[in-house]
Symmetry: C2
Subunit: 719 residues, 2 copies
């Protein structure tokens, strides 16, 4: 015993903490398939899933079966036995009428017809007098979607007993847009670098490409634009098309088609032509040949996304042609192969317009009806550029003869980038549920987008991806929710933000209500909080120049409509952009009931106040506070609300794995620091015009305006 | 039964394959700690490890204990019980005389003295008449190194019974050099992007930083230069120093100090001075203040690495001062804090020298003895630039009054980049075991580097890192072996390439001899194979311009010593760079016995033939073949040997996890394609001079020289 003196007791405690062999790094997203904790629930599922009948050997049915096995093995601890027939209770029968004789013999024709090409049925049925569950679809991809839905039911603890689900997507083209460059940088990417390792393609295809496809298929995304809208013609060269084809091969079983951005000047840059004029026969022929070449490698190629005549990108206007001329050039080449053109309405002419917000409408409405059938015009949710809050884009409803595709941003360019917790479903829903009044009351943006308002043959929705090489795909663990929510709303825009948050939390973290309640509350409030500490009351475009990181309402140099002062128009008299009749009259681009509502101070929602009106600092807001005091109130409330989120998060400590808990905690701390930075920088700056004090009940900013103005972020990501 | 018709039997087979929940993605490197498969071996270990005595609460002892727990739990299935004392057989006792009374009472003084500051003892001993194992050291970091060594013994299946290990490093500064930029691109990085997520530092420190530190500590690396030698002064601003300090905090418990690259013009760029002249008092003062600022944040900051007056980098010569003036400026500032300067000898003057290979020697030997005590001159292994094969750098042995630090490349800039299997230990060993004859026969490069030849107080070795954001750290699974081998040789350069490969394979893959034998054979041959298909017989610097990807012996534009033709000097008469007396006389930079050997065709090793001699195409080589035919033979042999590696790899299918097996297989296919590309492109090009046929027994190239010349790789990684 002589060697022992101390420390033994302390030591004993040190070894008791048990660590799992693999940390929860977020890689598995919402497809974690952790064992179901509720023993009774698990037993109920097991009794209804005693065996599985799932024949078929197409690539898509194979991956669906793989997913079912992965899911049920994880959730239930073991995969049910396989059966040839239904001779006892508790059989899960899966397939199409073509792949499964059992499904075929059920004569589900009518129900299946409604499911369409991508839909499915999940039902409890008696087969041979035995209680069974079926997942049935018309197509293999419908089966895959049905399997993911079925697994989601188990992941979220839903009852299966009386189940009768019939699902089909409301929108045909449900796409991610990757703003990924060939050097693997990602414009407005905050989660590392591009997933596409172009250099090693086509010979090496990472397993991660498959997991990317699984995640997208699980939420119904059926297409992906691989390249940045600020396009590079090199991706259309044979060297790169082989690489694109290799990705398409990986994605195909998951129902995901690849699309590319087409640089309008490609015929000159890689084709050796002297012009890219869309009416020039040699150009027409070049695109026809090029598209033919693409389809030889990629028979199900989706089509092109084009940013033309905007922010320096080439386009048909370089040759005095219209956007329709440009879009139709590509549409004609793609049409024989079944491809589409998505032509972006986000245009910046080389001239500075009277009001940047009016430009897309002015350029595009005259072209309505002049696009080929396989063209969609892709419109951002608002008329400026993915601001924390914008009114809906006036083009929605204003081009009845053209299918308008929605472009949402999933990446958080103006919403805290990689480190702020901002759940975007409420933003998406706010836009989709806006009433355009295009065909009278009830003409919602959602109905413009899904094509139902004008009975368009095709419809589409795109989300600018927030995915990168970060191990958890999206940097912020909660940014996964935005990818998820975008996909779910693209499939069914009638889902509520709360319902989507609920299922995402359950799948991603836990079914523990004690966790779900506060976390869902955080998520549902988070976007309003970010608006408050960044751009309350309709302010917009007051972020840092170039990298768009942090506040910089003082930006005044360079092209006027790329500055901040152009948009907030603060002066000693007041603040805000007068877009009423007395100003730019941008309100007139909306249908009269909307124009009237926004244009009239009495009816304009306060959230859009300074978007549409320039108002004096002592203008009385709804709260009774002066405009200045209301601005102060909102900024402080925003920053304080992040502290509230920190408390909420602290309250769930221990309910989930340490790794994700710690990461969110660290990011909330950053978010709080940055919310205070936004608040202080904006208020100190606007105070130089308002010449009013920050009321005494608020703690004064602890840094000077000069300090904030000198901050530099040369290497901020996503530039 | 009416629903069943077919397909049941097929189905039954489909579900039998069992997949592990987590794929083996290589993240755990050689620290996998998988359960020991050999049951008898496991039992032997368990009986010798029935309990553990490991007191102490310093940060380093804590991480050492964490590692021991992680390792033993994985290897043995459970962590042994803890004990306060040695009262039975099978106790593992760990600590320093200060942390453990048991260790202290063993009076290991003499043995421990030899272990020095970083060394350790691992011994079987009787304590209180009981059989025990000890891991003892003078310092906490010695304990950590000892724990990693101990775990390695178990990982590699070594016997513990008669064990008596005393280890201490032969070289004091064992560093990784990261050529990482602040925008997270990595110069010559082929494994994704920079690990350092500068934007989120200091507030968020990724768990991966800790795993980086663990991996490095496990092989004895004790420092890391975070930033590119093509330096950016911004890292020395307060904003970035806070971020550097956060990394230093993570690394500190693992014995790893951080170093930065110092941009020589920083006093001008971020200091507001008008000059960076090293003799200017304001400059001297600026660096003194800056260094003081750094040490306030990072009390154990390591020092600076400097690339000056090379490839456009600023330096003292801009002010007509010497490299010694520049190095001493920084050394004086660092000296009071214990920091060092590593001043690189890789210089490119703005004038093109008569022979690029002679430049460093010419510039640096006159400065020998003029550097401060805390300066090391960092010299690349060869006189050109990390070629597949170079003779050792003539500076080794030529600056007896200056500690020369070795700079090896771990990243494979000229050795197949991210996809070629090239085990670099034989390259490192070839250089280290070269005899400089500086103090007569037996004056090996290794003894210059470890300081023993001239009894220097300090010594150092640096490896240019191959680590990036790729999940497996290094892109190629076998590139992990190069990181590992560098670290092991930095600790003990007497280890053999085979011994290092053996332990790496066992730890990284399996102890199965059926796997180890062929895989070790591949590894040990792989570098010779790469030399053959890239640059046989002493050829060098004939790779693609800029990105250095693939062959381009035709490069002739631009600065002469950045072309290929400058180095191979092929013409219709012959090929090779005459560096003998009749040519540039670079051989004269070596000590006479070496100069004589290289300069004389009779004694010049054939591997350096065209490095030192320009020879006619019909010169007779050792094989009896003409030089042209020998060149053809080597190139074909090289490419064929990659096919041989593919066969070797195919023979071990099923012995390891599918994910890594498949990745290596895919990369070997790429390597074979690229070996054929190197072979064809080089032979077709040199054939335009040799005007001789490729002998008929070799399959002719299937593409034209023109084809190879037109290949473009604009977005190749690492530029």
């Amino acid at each position: 015993m002589k060697y022992f003196r101390s420390s033994g007791l302390i030591l004993l405690g040190l070894f008791l903490v048990c660590k799992p062999l693999f940390a929860e790094d977020g890689y598995r997203l919402w497809l974690r398939y952790e064992p179901i904790q509720d023993a009774q629930q698990k037993q109920r599922y097991q009794s209804m899933l005693q065996s599985v009948h799932f024949p078929g050997n197409s690539p898509t049915l194979k991956v669906a079966r793989d997913e079912l096995r992965r899911g049920l093995s994880g959730l239930l601890g073991a995969f049910p036995s396989l059966t040839r027939s239904v001779t006892s209770d508790g059989v899960l029968v899966i397939g199409t009428p073509a792949s499964s004789n059992i499904i075929s013999a059920l004569h589900l024709d009518e129900n299946l017809q409604a499911a369409g090409k991508e839909g499915y049925l999940i039902q409890r049925l008696d087969i041979n007098g035995k209680s069974a569950l079926i997942i049935a679809a018309n197509s293999d991809i419908g089966v895959l979607y049905g399997v993911f839905h079925f697994l989601r039911l188990l992941q979220t603890g839903r009852a299966l007993s009386g189940i009768a689900i019939a699902e089909s997507p409301r929108i045909r083209y449900r796409l991610l847009n990757h703003w990924d460059n060939l050097d693997r940088t990602v414009e407005r990417g905050y989660a590392g670098f591009s997933l596409w390792d172009w250099h090693k393609l086509p010979d090496y295809t990472k397993p991660r490409y498959t997991d990317y496809a699984r995640a997208n298929a699980s939420i119904g995304i059926n297409g992906t634009v691989l390249t940045n809208v600020n396009a590079n013609a090199d991706v259309l060269t044979p060297q790169y098309l082989k690489k694109v084809a290799a990705l398409a091969d990986v994605f195909r079983p998951y129902g995901i088609r690849v699309y590319l951005t087409a640089r309008f000047s490609a015929p000159v840059e890689i084709g050796g032509l002297e012009t890219a004029d869309p009416l020039e026969p040699a150009v027409v022929d070049w695109w026809k040949q090029k598209v033919g070449e693409i389809y030889r490698d990629i028979p199900d190629f989706g089509g092109f996304l084009v940013k033309a005549n905007s922010e320096g990108q080439p386009g048909p206007q370089d040759y005095h042609r219209t956007h329709a001329d440009g879009a139709n050039l590509l549409a004609n080449a793609l049409e024989p192969h079944g491809g589409i053109v998505m032509w972006r309405a986000f245009v910046y002419s080389s001239d500075v317009p009277e009001d940047r917000a009016k430009q897309a409408y002015n350029e595009f409405t005259p072209l309505d009806g002049r696009f080929r059938d396989n063209v969609l015009v892709q419109v951002k949710n608002g008329p400026i550029d993915f601001q924390p809050r914008e009114p809906f884009h006036p083009l929605f409803g204003a081009m009845p003869h053209t299918p308008l595709m929605m472009e949402f941003q999933i990446t958080q360019e103006y919403l805290g980038q990689g480190t702020h917790l901002v759940y975007l479903a409420p933003l998406y829903k706010e836009t989709l549920s806006s009433d355009t009044y295009a065909k009278g009351k009830g003409s919602y943006v959602a109905q413009v987008v899904d094509g139902s308002l004008e009975h368009h043959r095709i419809s589409g929705i795109a989300g600018v991806s927030n995915i990168g090489t970060d191990r958890n795909w999206t940097s912020h663990p909660f940014a996964q929710a935005n990818w998820y929510a975008f996909g779910r709303l693209a499939w069914d825009h009638t889902l509520s933000s709360a319902a989507i948050a609920d299922e995402w939390i359950r799948m991603t973290f836990t079914n523990d209500e004690a966790f779900i309640r506060p976390v869902k509350e955080m998520m549902l409030t988070s976007r309003a909080i970010a608006v408050n500490y960044m751009t309350p009351l309709g302010l917009h475009h007051i972020m840092g120049r170039g990298h768009h990181y942090g506040p910089a309402p003082w930006v005044s140099q360079g092209r006027p409509d790329w500055t901040a002062v152009y948009y907030h128009r603060a002066d000693t008299a007041g603040i805000g952009f007068d877009r009423t009749e007395s100003g730019s009259n941008a309100v007139s681009q909306y249908y009269p009931p909307v124009a009237q509502k926004f244009g009239d101070l009495e009816t304009c929602p306060e959230k859009f106040l300074l978007w549409f009106h320039h108002l004096p600092w002592d203008y009385t807001t709804h709260s009774g506070r002066t405009l200045w005091n209301e601005l102060v109130h909102r900024y402080y409330q925003g920053a304080d609300s992040v502290a509230w989120m920190q408390e909420k998060w602290a309250s769930v400590k221990g309910m989930i794995d340490k790794q994700r808990y710690d990461k969110v905690k660290a990011f909330l701390k950053i978010q709080h620091q940055e919310a205070v930075w936004w608040r202080n920088a904006c208020l100190l700056y606007f105070q130089t015009y308002s010449r009013r004090p920050i009321p005494e009940d608020y703690p004064p900013p602890d840094q000077s305006l000069e300090y904030y103005r000198t901050l530099k972020f040369k290497y901020a990501p996503g530039q």
